[in-house]
Symmetry: C2
Amino acid sequence: MNTQAAVLDALASPRRREILRLVWREEQTAGAIHQAMPDVTFGAVSLQLRRLEEAGLVESRGEKQFRYYRARREALGPVGEMLERMWDDALWRLKLAAELEQTRRGPKPAPRQSKKNKQ
Amino acid sequence: MNTQAAVLDALASPRRREILRLVWREEQTAGAIHQAMPDVTFGAVSLQLRRLEEAGLVESRGEKQFRYYRARREALGPVGEMLERMWDDALWRLKLAAELEQTRRGPKPAPRQSKKNKQ
DNA sequence: CTTGTATTTTAGTTTAATCTAAATTAATTT
DNA sequence: AAATTAATTTAGATTAAACTAAAATACAAG
């Protein structure tokens, strides 16, 4: 079960990282997760949850009509600590908001780097 | 300079991970890197090198008409160790080959998971 | 069995990433 | 200067990822 590549793929998107953060310390229902991300549909959240679960980054249990998701922190090892540092950083939160904003509105304004003086 | 997210973004693609592997232990010219990936054009490799460099995952120096790239292993921290484990694993190499094959040929055959018996 | 609530899945669209081919820049050699 | 070699950049095409809206599934309660 080659999992590492799947893990990296799963961590690639800001959306999935945000979901992971929401279920990092305590389980949440799919609905609660969606409520925390009002800019996407429930369906979109559900698809990302499935990707995270297939990558082994979250697990879930069903109870009544609800499904509770929680992070499988042990699957990330030291990378998990990196994520925690990222989330603890207040500046990071602002950056994330900007990132999601961009994700919503289309491609970046392409801040191209100057081509000269690169030795 | 919030770098972590850029790092995760940069590690998202198998192609960039393969490039990173090639320059992990010793520097390589852009041309040598391209030769190791005969299924893409030099231009494509150059673009990915730029992305890796902008994310701080590789650095480069120009000498004569060549440009030498090498990994900035210190920028990756724990993720670097994860990558090394991945690359040391023989099975992983087969998997990577298959992954690149897929990348080349189009989307996956979509092996859907059965929907029942999920408690 | 019908209604309500929670969630997932499907089909199709939109958005973003990656690639190619060709043009361009840059240094080297003749 | 012209030709050669190495690498980058651009514009446009292709491929893949993410999203939406609607339909489907699942369970609970009346």
